[in-house]
């Protein structure tokens, strides 16, 4: 991913707030099999914004913030559910999480069962890095608050870095695979993430930002208030990761 068909279908269902318009996704989807040169020309001739083309077709490197959101203890929770119950359970989960992601301008990179990886950054958002962190932080906090106390409590891994979108040449399957070390690091971080927390590497710029300081956060969609508490450094040993410490920013209560 990003899989253009999935992005397009999700946008039909949920309202998104980012730079990329549905018509740009459609134009790229419909011409996926064409060469990069032809696609560039098509965008130029139709006067369509070519940001998507620059990142997806010309492989311009993108500095992004990523969230990996998944349900804590999902395998155990879903064990007792019938397929129909599981379907309802996950549909409700997707509705609540994807709505929050889109509200803050994020885009869906990949859905693996209960695991949702989303991107804040190019080509979907052109904000400064600090603003990308602020959007990802608000999204992560909203998701944690939304689901805290329900049967779908989540843990979130937050990471950032340079990625590239590689064009999957599969016919009829317009997918651009995100590649780069930050993605491996995000997967590893997810493996040690804790419930109702935003988990990040201690060296992250996020750690020093105002949005990552202990205190009260007001949920974007209602008058719910929450309190967030930061852990000290936690030692981890993660293969393929240069850092050995992470931190956890946890929602300790909501009103």
């Amino acid at each position: 991913m990003p899989n253009l068909l999935q992005i397009d279908a999700l946008r039909e269902k949920y309202a998104v707030r980012n730079n990329v318009l549905q018509k740009e996704i459609k134009l790229l989807s419909e011409n996926f099999k064409r060469s990069t040169y032809e696609i560039k020309n098509l965008f130029a001739v139709s006067g369509t914004n070519d940001t998507l083309v620059r990142y997806f077709e010309s492989q311009q490197s993108a500095n992004v913030v990523l969230l990996f959101i998944d349900i804590t203890g999902f395998s155990l929770k879903c064990k007792s559910l019938t397929n129909n119950q599981l379907s309802l359970y996950l549909d409700d989960y997707y509705d609540r999480v994807i709505t929050s992601i889109y509200r803050h301008g994020g885009e869906i990179e990949k859905i693996i069962g209960d695991g949702i990886i989303c991107i804040f950054g190019q080509p979907f958002l052109s904000d400064s890095k600090s603003d990308l962190f602020i959007k990802a932080d608000s999204c992560a906090k909203d998701v944690v608050i939304e689901l805290k106390g329900s049967d779908k409590e989540v843990k979130i891994a937050l990471h950032d870095g340079d990625v590239m979108y590689y064009k999957n040449k599969t016919e009829n399957y317009p997918e651009y695979t995100m590649i780069g070390k930050p993605l491996t690091e995000l997967f590893r971080l997810e493996g040690v993430s804790e419930n109702n927390s935003i988990n990040y590497y201690h060296v992250s710029q996020y750690d020093g930002m105002a949005c990552c300081q202990e205190g009260v956060y007001k949920y974007s969609q209602s008058i719910i208030h929450s309190y967030w508490n930061k852990s000290g450094i936690v030692q981890v040993e993660l293969k393929g990761v240069d850092w050995t410490f992470i931190k956890r920013f946890s929602c300790t209560y909501k009103t």
Binding site: A9, L86, G113, Y166, N168, K181
Partner: protein, 255 residues
Amino acid sequence: MANLDLIKRLNEQYGKTSPIRSATKLFSINEAIDPNKLEKALPNSLASMGPLYAGYFDFGLPANVSLLFIDVCSFSTRFIDLDGESIATFFDNYYDVVIPIIYKYGGEIDKIIGDGIICIFGPPFLSDDTKANIKKANDCAKEIIEATEGKAYSSKVAFHSGTINYFKNKTGLYKEFTMIGKPLTEIFRLESVSLDERVNYYDETPIRDFYKERIACCQSGNSSTIKAEWTHWEHTLPNLKGVDFKRYYSIIHNK
């Protein structure tokens, strides 16, 4: 996944015969972005694949499967300098090596995440018993290690088995089935500690039992004349979230 379009396309490209290949209708991309067409197409496709496929995909019957998570050793760090075109070529060549081996042993592709390939040996794609599926996955894993060792595509394999369900994903990709179950979490965690150019598997699983039987068989012969082609090494697992196993093994090829 399993995404039926992807499976069909790969089946065609690498010459595999399957009900999915013959029964799934691929839409043009213009048609594919019309969700009404896909929603109608899915039940028709499932019905023509036979009751086995309908049972697992439509009714979510539990499936006892063997899983392989194959990926290139240190891909993110070794190939950080490749440009988009070179990465595309690299992946194409890598898939050309690995996917035919998976198909040779009856496996099916569940997911491709850049250099990571998750494949399934079991229902509805294979109708053998658990032990036979483990054997096929074992043969496949070892052949992949042999075919890639010392080369640019040098790989590692995480090997696991257990019961999963296929859940019909309604988020937009209407022909996609997400595999759900604890074995999936466990294989992702195993991949995170897997050793390069080895097949890695957990202790106290049917896979360990399968190997113990084979090792016992070899040892009962004349050991002085047997030169083992593969050696099993025992390792202590670090604390992996959601994983109850304490130890894992890696199998190294004695070149």
